[in-house]
Symmetry: C2
Subunit: 189 residues, 2 copies
DNA sequence: GTCTATACCTTGATAGAC
DNA sequence: GTCTATCAAGGTATAGAC
Protein backbone atom coordinates (compact mmCIF):
# COMPACT_ATOMS: atom_id res chain seq x y z
CA UNK A 1 0.00 0.00 0.00
CA UNK A 2 1.45 3.36 -1.07
CA UNK A 3 1.62 6.65 0.76
CA UNK A 4 -1.77 7.74 -0.52
CA UNK A 5 -3.27 4.46 0.58
CA UNK A 6 -1.85 4.82 4.07
CA UNK A 7 -3.31 8.29 4.28
CA UNK A 8 -6.76 7.11 3.29
CA UNK A 9 -6.58 4.23 5.69
CA UNK A 10 -5.68 6.59 8.50
CA UNK A 11 -8.55 8.93 7.59
CA UNK A 12 -10.97 6.03 7.96
CA UNK A 13 -9.46 4.99 11.28
CA UNK A 14 -9.61 8.57 12.60
CA UNK A 15 -13.24 9.03 11.62
CA UNK A 16 -14.19 5.64 13.05
CA UNK A 17 -12.26 6.43 16.22
CA UNK A 18 -14.15 9.64 16.84
CA UNK A 19 -17.55 8.20 16.02
CA UNK A 20 -17.08 5.03 18.06
CA UNK A 21 -16.12 7.22 20.99
CA UNK A 22 -19.08 9.55 20.56
CA UNK A 23 -21.81 7.07 19.63
CA UNK A 24 -20.53 3.64 20.62
CA UNK A 25 -19.41 0.80 18.37
CA UNK A 26 -22.77 -0.79 17.59
CA UNK A 27 -24.46 2.56 17.03
CA UNK A 28 -21.76 3.69 14.58
CA UNK A 29 -22.55 2.73 10.98
CA UNK A 30 -20.37 2.71 7.90
CA UNK A 31 -22.63 5.39 6.49
CA UNK A 32 -21.72 7.62 9.46
CA UNK A 33 -18.03 7.00 8.97
CA UNK A 34 -18.26 7.60 5.23
CA UNK A 35 -19.95 10.92 5.78
CA UNK A 36 -17.39 12.00 8.39
CA UNK A 37 -14.27 11.17 6.41
CA UNK A 38 -15.72 12.09 3.01
CA UNK A 39 -15.18 8.71 1.40
CA UNK A 40 -17.67 6.25 -0.08
CA UNK A 41 -18.27 3.38 2.30
CA UNK A 42 -17.48 0.88 -0.42
CA UNK A 43 -13.81 1.85 -0.05
CA UNK A 44 -13.63 0.63 3.53
CA UNK A 45 -13.55 -2.96 2.38
CA UNK A 46 -10.37 -2.35 0.48
CA UNK A 47 -8.63 -1.54 3.77
CA UNK A 48 -10.63 -3.64 6.25
CA UNK A 49 -12.36 -6.95 5.72
CA UNK A 50 -15.08 -6.44 8.32
CA UNK A 51 -16.38 -3.87 10.77
CA UNK A 52 -14.58 -5.75 13.54
CA UNK A 53 -11.29 -5.46 11.68
CA UNK A 54 -11.83 -1.72 11.58
CA UNK A 55 -12.54 -1.79 15.31
CA UNK A 56 -9.25 -3.59 15.91
CA UNK A 57 -7.43 -0.93 13.93
CA UNK A 58 -9.12 1.80 15.96
CA UNK A 59 -8.13 0.16 19.26
CA UNK A 60 -4.54 -0.30 18.05
CA UNK A 61 -4.48 3.38 17.10
CA UNK A 62 -5.70 4.42 20.53
CA UNK A 63 -3.12 2.18 22.13
CA UNK A 64 -0.38 3.81 20.07
CA UNK A 65 -1.52 7.32 20.97
CA UNK A 66 -1.59 6.45 24.65
CA UNK A 67 1.91 5.00 24.44
CA UNK A 68 3.16 8.23 22.84
CA UNK A 69 1.48 10.28 25.54
CA UNK A 70 2.98 8.16 28.33
CA UNK A 71 6.43 8.26 26.70
CA UNK A 72 6.32 12.04 26.66
CA UNK A 73 5.42 12.12 30.35
CA UNK A 74 8.29 9.73 31.08
CA UNK A 75 10.77 11.93 29.25
CA UNK A 76 9.52 15.21 30.70
CA UNK A 77 9.21 14.01 34.30
CA UNK A 78 12.01 11.79 35.58
CA UNK A 79 10.72 12.12 39.16
CA UNK A 80 8.15 9.35 39.81
CA UNK A 81 5.96 11.52 42.01
CA UNK A 82 5.66 14.33 39.46
CA UNK A 83 5.17 11.69 36.80
CA UNK A 84 2.26 10.18 38.71
CA UNK A 85 0.72 13.61 39.19
CA UNK A 86 0.70 14.03 35.43
CA UNK A 87 -0.71 10.61 34.73
CA UNK A 88 -3.68 10.92 37.04
CA UNK A 89 -4.31 14.43 35.79
CA UNK A 90 -4.66 13.34 32.16
CA UNK A 91 -8.47 12.90 32.15
CA UNK A 92 -8.88 16.53 33.20
CA UNK A 93 -7.14 17.64 29.99
CA UNK A 94 -10.08 16.17 28.09
CA UNK A 95 -12.57 17.12 30.74
CA UNK A 96 -15.21 18.40 28.37
CA UNK A 97 -15.13 15.28 26.21
CA UNK A 98 -15.18 12.98 29.22
CA UNK A 99 -18.34 14.69 30.45
CA UNK A 100 -19.97 14.37 27.04
CA UNK A 101 -18.88 10.89 26.01
CA UNK A 102 -17.26 9.23 29.04
CA UNK A 103 -13.89 7.54 29.34
CA UNK A 104 -12.69 6.40 25.89
CA UNK A 105 -11.30 3.19 27.33
CA UNK A 106 -13.99 2.51 29.90
CA UNK A 107 -17.06 3.04 27.75
CA UNK A 108 -15.71 0.97 24.88
CA UNK A 109 -14.60 -1.88 27.11
CA UNK A 110 -18.01 -1.79 28.80
CA UNK A 111 -19.72 -2.20 25.43
CA UNK A 112 -17.37 -4.84 24.04
CA UNK A 113 -17.23 -6.74 27.33
CA UNK A 114 -20.95 -7.50 27.11
CA UNK A 115 -20.60 -9.16 23.77
CA UNK A 116 -17.60 -11.39 23.20
CA UNK A 117 -15.93 -9.26 20.58
CA UNK A 118 -12.28 -9.90 19.84
CA UNK A 119 -11.48 -6.25 20.47
CA UNK A 120 -12.15 -6.59 24.19
CA UNK A 121 -8.71 -8.01 24.91
CA UNK A 122 -7.00 -5.19 23.09
CA UNK A 123 -8.94 -2.42 24.80
CA UNK A 124 -8.43 -4.04 28.20
CA UNK A 125 -4.70 -4.02 27.59
CA UNK A 126 -4.90 -0.23 27.62
CA UNK A 127 -6.02 -0.47 31.21
CA UNK A 128 -3.12 -2.82 31.88
CA UNK A 129 -0.60 -0.36 30.45
CA UNK A 130 -2.02 2.42 32.59
CA UNK A 131 -1.93 0.21 35.66
CA UNK A 132 1.70 -0.74 35.10
CA UNK A 133 2.68 2.90 34.61
CA UNK A 134 0.99 3.91 37.85
CA UNK A 135 2.50 1.00 39.75
CA UNK A 136 5.93 1.81 38.41
CA UNK A 137 5.64 5.37 39.72
CA UNK A 138 4.53 4.14 43.14
CA UNK A 139 7.44 1.73 43.32
CA UNK A 140 9.74 4.58 42.40
CA UNK A 141 8.25 6.51 45.32
CA UNK A 142 9.30 3.76 47.72
CA UNK A 143 6.26 1.50 48.00
CA UNK A 144 7.00 -2.22 47.90
CA UNK A 145 5.72 -4.36 45.05
CA UNK A 146 2.50 -5.62 46.64
CA UNK A 147 1.52 -2.31 48.13
CA UNK A 148 2.25 -0.50 44.86
CA UNK A 149 0.03 -2.95 43.00
CA UNK A 150 -2.74 -2.53 45.54
CA UNK A 151 -2.63 1.25 45.44
CA UNK A 152 -2.25 1.43 41.69
CA UNK A 153 -5.46 -0.54 41.34
CA UNK A 154 -7.14 1.85 43.71
CA UNK A 155 -5.98 4.86 41.70
CA UNK A 156 -7.22 3.37 38.44
CA UNK A 157 -10.53 2.45 40.08
CA UNK A 158 -11.03 6.01 41.31
CA UNK A 159 -10.29 7.52 37.92
CA UNK A 160 -12.58 5.11 36.15
CA UNK A 161 -15.42 5.64 38.59
CA UNK A 162 -15.05 9.41 38.47
CA UNK A 163 -15.08 9.46 34.66
CA UNK A 164 -18.24 7.36 34.61
CA UNK A 165 -20.12 9.47 37.09
CA UNK A 166 -19.01 12.70 35.43
CA UNK A 167 -20.42 11.30 32.22
CA UNK A 168 -23.65 10.03 33.80
CA UNK A 169 -24.36 13.30 35.60
CA UNK A 170 -22.88 15.46 32.85
CA UNK A 171 -20.89 17.18 35.59
CA UNK A 172 -17.12 17.54 35.48
CA UNK A 173 -16.94 18.21 39.21
CA UNK A 174 -16.98 14.50 39.91
CA UNK A 175 -13.78 14.12 37.94
CA UNK A 176 -12.21 17.24 39.36
CA UNK A 177 -12.92 16.35 42.99
CA UNK A 178 -11.63 12.80 42.67
CA UNK A 179 -8.45 13.82 40.89
CA UNK A 180 -7.88 16.56 43.46
CA UNK A 181 -8.07 13.89 46.17
CA UNK A 182 -5.60 11.75 44.26
CA UNK A 183 -3.13 14.64 43.98
CA UNK A 184 -3.32 15.17 47.74
CA UNK A 185 -2.90 11.47 48.39
CA UNK A 186 0.17 11.32 46.15
CA UNK A 187 1.80 14.20 48.01
CA UNK A 188 1.10 12.45 51.31
CA UNK A 189 2.99 9.32 50.25
CA UNK B 1 -55.61 -3.66 30.92
CA UNK B 2 -56.61 -6.85 32.77
CA UNK B 3 -54.59 -9.18 34.92
CA UNK B 4 -53.46 -11.26 31.94
CA UNK B 5 -52.41 -8.14 30.12
CA UNK B 6 -50.34 -6.94 33.07
CA UNK B 7 -48.64 -10.32 33.21
CA UNK B 8 -47.73 -10.24 29.54
CA UNK B 9 -46.47 -6.69 29.84
CA UNK B 10 -44.28 -7.70 32.74
CA UNK B 11 -42.90 -10.68 30.82
CA UNK B 12 -41.82 -8.35 28.04
CA UNK B 13 -40.21 -5.93 30.49
CA UNK B 14 -38.38 -8.75 32.25
CA UNK B 15 -37.00 -10.20 29.03
CA UNK B 16 -35.98 -6.75 27.78
CA UNK B 17 -34.39 -5.97 31.13
CA UNK B 18 -32.21 -9.07 31.05
CA UNK B 19 -31.21 -8.67 27.42
CA UNK B 20 -30.46 -4.96 27.67
CA UNK B 21 -28.23 -5.74 30.63
CA UNK B 22 -26.46 -8.59 28.87
CA UNK B 23 -26.11 -7.15 25.36
CA UNK B 24 -26.72 -3.42 25.66
CA UNK B 25 -29.71 -1.41 24.47
CA UNK B 26 -28.72 -0.86 20.83
CA UNK B 27 -27.58 -4.45 20.40
CA UNK B 28 -30.84 -5.84 21.78
CA UNK B 29 -33.46 -6.37 19.07
CA UNK B 30 -37.18 -7.04 19.31
CA UNK B 31 -36.49 -10.42 17.75
CA UNK B 32 -34.18 -11.23 20.69
CA UNK B 33 -36.80 -10.17 23.20
CA UNK B 34 -39.55 -12.10 21.42
CA UNK B 35 -37.49 -15.26 21.48
CA UNK B 36 -36.65 -14.84 25.17
CA UNK B 37 -40.17 -14.20 26.44
CA UNK B 38 -41.88 -16.50 23.95
CA UNK B 39 -44.14 -13.91 22.41
CA UNK B 40 -44.38 -12.62 18.84
CA UNK B 41 -42.74 -9.24 18.52
CA UNK B 42 -45.88 -7.81 16.96
CA UNK B 43 -47.46 -7.92 20.42
CA UNK B 44 -44.95 -5.49 21.87
CA UNK B 45 -46.62 -2.60 20.13
CA UNK B 46 -49.83 -3.25 21.98
CA UNK B 47 -48.00 -2.48 25.23
CA UNK B 48 -45.32 -0.04 24.09
CA UNK B 49 -45.39 2.51 21.28
CA UNK B 50 -41.65 2.46 20.53
CA UNK B 51 -38.45 0.74 21.59
CA UNK B 52 -37.61 3.78 23.70
CA UNK B 53 -40.91 3.46 25.54
CA UNK B 54 -39.96 -0.10 26.37
CA UNK B 55 -36.58 1.16 27.58
CA UNK B 56 -38.32 3.63 29.87
CA UNK B 57 -40.42 0.83 31.32
CA UNK B 58 -37.29 -1.25 31.90
CA UNK B 59 -35.55 1.59 33.71
CA UNK B 60 -38.64 2.27 35.84
CA UNK B 61 -38.71 -1.42 36.72
CA UNK B 62 -35.06 -1.38 37.77
CA UNK B 63 -35.68 1.74 39.82
CA UNK B 64 -38.56 0.02 41.59
CA UNK B 65 -36.51 -3.08 42.35
CA UNK B 66 -33.70 -0.99 43.77
CA UNK B 67 -36.15 0.94 45.95
CA UNK B 68 -37.51 -2.34 47.32
CA UNK B 69 -33.99 -3.55 48.00
CA UNK B 70 -33.04 -0.36 49.81
CA UNK B 71 -36.28 -0.36 51.80
CA UNK B 72 -35.53 -3.84 53.02
CA UNK B 73 -32.06 -2.77 54.13
CA UNK B 74 -33.56 0.23 55.91
CA UNK B 75 -36.01 -1.96 57.81
CA UNK B 76 -33.51 -4.69 58.68
CA UNK B 77 -30.70 -2.36 59.75
CA UNK B 78 -31.69 0.68 61.81
CA UNK B 79 -28.04 1.40 62.62
CA UNK B 80 -26.59 3.66 59.91
CA UNK B 81 -23.18 2.04 59.99
CA UNK B 82 -24.50 -1.48 59.52
CA UNK B 83 -26.86 -0.12 56.90
CA UNK B 84 -23.97 1.38 54.96
CA UNK B 85 -22.04 -1.88 55.18
CA UNK B 86 -24.97 -3.61 53.51
CA UNK B 87 -25.38 -0.99 50.81
CA UNK B 88 -21.75 -1.02 49.68
CA UNK B 89 -21.75 -4.82 49.82
CA UNK B 90 -24.66 -5.16 47.38
CA UNK B 91 -22.57 -5.49 44.17
CA UNK B 92 -20.80 -8.51 45.66
CA UNK B 93 -24.14 -10.33 45.88
CA UNK B 94 -24.28 -10.23 42.08
CA UNK B 95 -20.55 -10.64 41.71
CA UNK B 96 -20.70 -13.16 38.89
CA UNK B 97 -23.10 -11.06 36.82
CA UNK B 98 -21.09 -7.90 37.42
CA UNK B 99 -17.97 -9.63 36.08
CA UNK B 100 -19.84 -10.87 33.02
CA UNK B 101 -21.94 -7.83 32.17
CA UNK B 102 -20.77 -4.93 34.31
CA UNK B 103 -22.76 -2.63 36.56
CA UNK B 104 -26.42 -2.60 35.45
CA UNK B 105 -26.69 1.12 36.12
CA UNK B 106 -23.23 2.15 34.96
CA UNK B 107 -23.10 0.32 31.66
CA UNK B 108 -26.57 1.44 30.61
CA UNK B 109 -25.96 5.07 31.56
CA UNK B 110 -22.65 4.93 29.70
CA UNK B 111 -24.44 3.79 26.55
CA UNK B 112 -27.40 6.15 26.82
CA UNK B 113 -25.21 9.07 27.85
CA UNK B 114 -23.41 8.99 24.51
CA UNK B 115 -26.60 9.38 22.58
CA UNK B 116 -29.19 11.81 23.91
CA UNK B 117 -31.83 9.24 24.71
CA UNK B 118 -34.61 10.28 27.05
CA UNK B 119 -33.88 7.29 29.29
CA UNK B 120 -30.58 8.81 30.44
CA UNK B 121 -32.24 11.01 33.04
CA UNK B 122 -34.14 8.10 34.52
CA UNK B 123 -31.12 5.81 34.78
CA UNK B 124 -29.00 8.59 36.26
CA UNK B 125 -31.62 9.09 38.95
CA UNK B 126 -30.76 5.57 40.15
CA UNK B 127 -27.27 6.85 40.92
CA UNK B 128 -28.85 9.79 42.73
CA UNK B 129 -30.97 7.53 44.92
CA UNK B 130 -27.91 5.46 45.80
CA UNK B 131 -25.92 8.60 46.58
CA UNK B 132 -28.63 9.97 48.87
CA UNK B 133 -28.87 6.66 50.72
CA UNK B 134 -25.13 6.56 51.28
CA UNK B 135 -25.02 10.18 52.38
CA UNK B 136 -27.91 9.62 54.78
CA UNK B 137 -26.00 6.79 56.43
CA UNK B 138 -22.88 8.92 56.76
CA UNK B 139 -24.85 11.76 58.31
CA UNK B 140 -26.35 9.26 60.74
CA UNK B 141 -22.79 8.25 61.64
CA UNK B 142 -22.00 11.83 62.66
CA UNK B 143 -20.49 13.41 59.55
CA UNK B 144 -21.69 16.91 58.78
CA UNK B 145 -23.65 17.60 55.60
CA UNK B 146 -20.81 18.71 53.35
CA UNK B 147 -18.41 16.02 54.46
CA UNK B 148 -21.09 13.35 54.12
CA UNK B 149 -21.80 14.47 50.55
CA UNK B 150 -18.10 14.48 49.74
CA UNK B 151 -17.50 11.01 51.12
CA UNK B 152 -20.71 9.59 49.67
CA UNK B 153 -19.52 10.64 46.23
CA UNK B 154 -16.21 8.98 46.88
CA UNK B 155 -17.91 5.73 47.92
CA UNK B 156 -20.09 5.69 44.82
CA UNK B 157 -17.07 6.49 42.65
CA UNK B 158 -15.12 3.57 44.10
CA UNK B 159 -17.96 1.12 43.60
CA UNK B 160 -18.54 2.25 40.04
CA UNK B 161 -14.87 2.09 39.14
CA UNK B 162 -14.45 -1.32 40.72
CA UNK B 163 -17.45 -2.72 38.87
CA UNK B 164 -16.11 -1.42 35.57
CA UNK B 165 -12.66 -2.83 36.03
CA UNK B 166 -13.99 -6.16 37.25
CA UNK B 167 -16.03 -6.30 34.07
CA UNK B 168 -13.18 -5.21 31.80
CA UNK B 169 -10.71 -7.69 33.25
CA UNK B 170 -13.34 -10.37 33.89
CA UNK B 171 -11.94 -10.57 37.41
CA UNK B 172 -14.11 -10.21 40.50
CA UNK B 173 -11.10 -9.46 42.70
CA UNK B 174 -11.22 -5.82 41.67
CA UNK B 175 -14.70 -5.56 43.15
CA UNK B 176 -13.85 -7.61 46.20
CA UNK B 177 -10.72 -5.64 47.09
CA UNK B 178 -12.39 -2.27 46.70
CA UNK B 179 -15.44 -3.23 48.73
CA UNK B 180 -13.18 -4.69 51.40
CA UNK B 181 -11.41 -1.32 51.62
CA UNK B 182 -14.75 0.42 51.90
CA UNK B 183 -15.82 -1.82 54.78
CA UNK B 184 -12.61 -1.02 56.63
CA UNK B 185 -13.03 2.67 55.95
CA UNK B 186 -16.61 2.60 57.28
CA UNK B 187 -15.50 0.95 60.51
CA UNK B 188 -12.79 3.58 60.93
CA UNK B 189 -15.30 6.43 60.78
C1' DG C 1 -6.76 1.85 -5.93
C1' DT C 2 -11.23 4.16 -6.13
C1' DC C 3 -15.89 4.53 -7.01
C1' DT C 4 -21.06 3.22 -7.96
C1' DA C 5 -24.49 0.13 -7.69
C1' DT C 6 -26.59 -3.26 -5.42
C1' DA C 7 -27.33 -7.82 -3.01
C1' DC C 8 -29.00 -9.60 1.10
C1' DC C 9 -30.27 -9.37 5.73
C1' DT C 10 -32.12 -7.40 10.05
C1' DT C 11 -34.14 -3.57 12.11
C1' DG C 12 -38.21 -1.11 14.27
C1' DA C 13 -42.80 -0.55 13.16
C1' DT C 14 -47.67 -1.32 10.87
C1' DA C 15 -51.92 -3.60 8.98
C1' DG C 16 -55.42 -6.37 9.50
C1' DA C 17 -57.42 -11.16 10.33
C1' DC C 18 -59.20 -13.54 14.21
C1' DG D 1 -56.09 -8.80 23.08
C1' DT D 2 -53.29 -11.84 20.19
C1' DC D 3 -51.26 -13.35 16.16
C1' DT D 4 -49.23 -13.51 11.17
C1' DA D 5 -47.68 -11.21 7.44
C1' DT D 6 -45.44 -7.54 5.79
C1' DC D 7 -43.53 -2.84 5.30
C1' DA D 8 -39.83 0.75 4.49
C1' DA D 9 -35.43 1.91 6.10
C1' DG D 10 -30.99 1.08 7.15
C1' DG D 11 -27.33 -2.40 8.24
C1' DT D 12 -22.94 -4.94 6.50
C1' DA D 13 -20.83 -6.69 2.77
C1' DT D 14 -19.95 -7.69 -2.37
C1' DA D 15 -19.48 -7.16 -7.55
C1' DG D 16 -17.56 -5.08 -11.01
C1' DA D 17 -16.68 -0.79 -13.94
C1' DC D 18 -13.07 2.47 -14.28
Amino acid sequence: MGRKGEENRQRIVDAANTLIYRKGFTATSFADIAETCGMPKGNFYFYFRTKEDLLDAVVKDRMKRMAVHLDKIYQDFPDPRLRLHRIVNAPLLDRHEVVQFGCPIGTLSAELGKQSKTGINAITSMFTVLLLSIRHCLEGMGLNHDEAERQARHVLTSLQGAANLSHAFKDGNWLEAEIQSLHEWIDAQ
